[in-house]
């Protein structure tokens, strides 16, 4: 799967004009800082059925995070 990062900004005041010389600084503001989005540290399985198979085989319970639209954005 190919992923290309694209950054989108939202400002509540003046329109944001990101200039090439300040791009890296702005990207750092927008993206998560280390330790900020800790849920992203978990190796989530994105298939309920495959997760169930693994849980049964390994003798573990499932911890299911569900939303209308996949929380990690796969849909």
């Amino acid at each position: 799967m190919k992923w290309i990062a694209v950054i989108v900004l939202l400002a509540t005041q003046d329109p944001v004009r990101v200039r090439p010389e300040s791009l890296e600084e702005t990207l750092a503001l927008v993206k998560a800082s280390p330790g900020e989005a800790r849920w992203d540290e978990i190796e989530w399985t994105t298939s309920l059925w495959e997760g169930r198979k693994r849980a049964a085989a390994e003798g573990k319970p499932l911890f299911i995070w569900a939303a209308n639209g996949n929380p990690i954005g796969m849909t």
Partner: protein
């Protein structure tokens, strides 16, 4: 996070309540009438026994998040024959509901992030400490909620093969800049903001 990773099989999904296949049936088996409710986390055994419900509340009844340590304690209290590896037989999923959305073949997914920013007194951009967002655009638009130190939202733009081939040069190179049609740029930098900032 390490506790969840070590003791559970962590699964993240779009709600499966409408799926007409074995996976959807499994989801409904423990979520029952609440299968459509979203934004929650559930503790469940491979057999479909919910581990974080009580007499008043289903594990799927509302935007609740199970306490993983309480869930795991309930798991340990189950009989050994329910917990041992291989106690539950799960067959391969041979047929999936064809109505479940799939990624188109040859498509390109763009991953992005967004976060509310504001200008400081020095004119420089900075992260907002608090952000107010209307959660449900109902007739009164009154369900406003304040998010403290909101983390970045994630966006994923799906482009079909035909779409991305129509906007990318035939021989793209790193660092190359190409103009985008206005509707495409509008979709990428404005429409993706909808419901992704929390």
């Amino acid at each position: 996070m390490a506790f969840i990773q070590k003791n559970f099989i962590p699964v993240v999904i779009t709600v499966h309540g409408e799926c007409k296949d074995a996976e959807g049936a499994f989801w409904k088996s423990f979520c029952k009438d609440y299968a459509w409710i979203t934004g929650a986390a559930h503790g469940v055994t491979p057999a479909g026994k919910i581990l974080c419900s009580d007499a008043k509340r289903s594990s799927c009844g509302g935007r609740s998040v199970c306490d993983p340590r309480k869930v795991y304690q309930r798991w340990l209290e189950l009989p050994e024959e329910e917990r041992r590896p291989g106690a539950v037989k799960v067959e391969d999923l041979t047929e999936m509901d064809p109505a479940f959305p799939r990624r188109p073949a040859g498509s390109l997914l763009l991953k992005g992030y967004n976060r509310p920013l504001e200008r400081g007194s020095d004119g420089r951009l900075k992260r907002m400490k608090e952000y107010r967002d209307c959660q449900e655009l109902g007739k009164n638009d009154s369900n406003w909620k304040t998010f403290v130190e909101p983390e970045p939202g994630r966006i994923f733009l799906w482009f079909t093969q035909e779409q991305w081939k129509s906007i990318l040069p035939r021989e793209p190179r790193p660092g190359m800049t190409v103009p985008l049609p206005d509707p495409v740029a509008d979709r990428m930098v404005r429409l993706t903001l909808l419901n992704t900032i929390y």
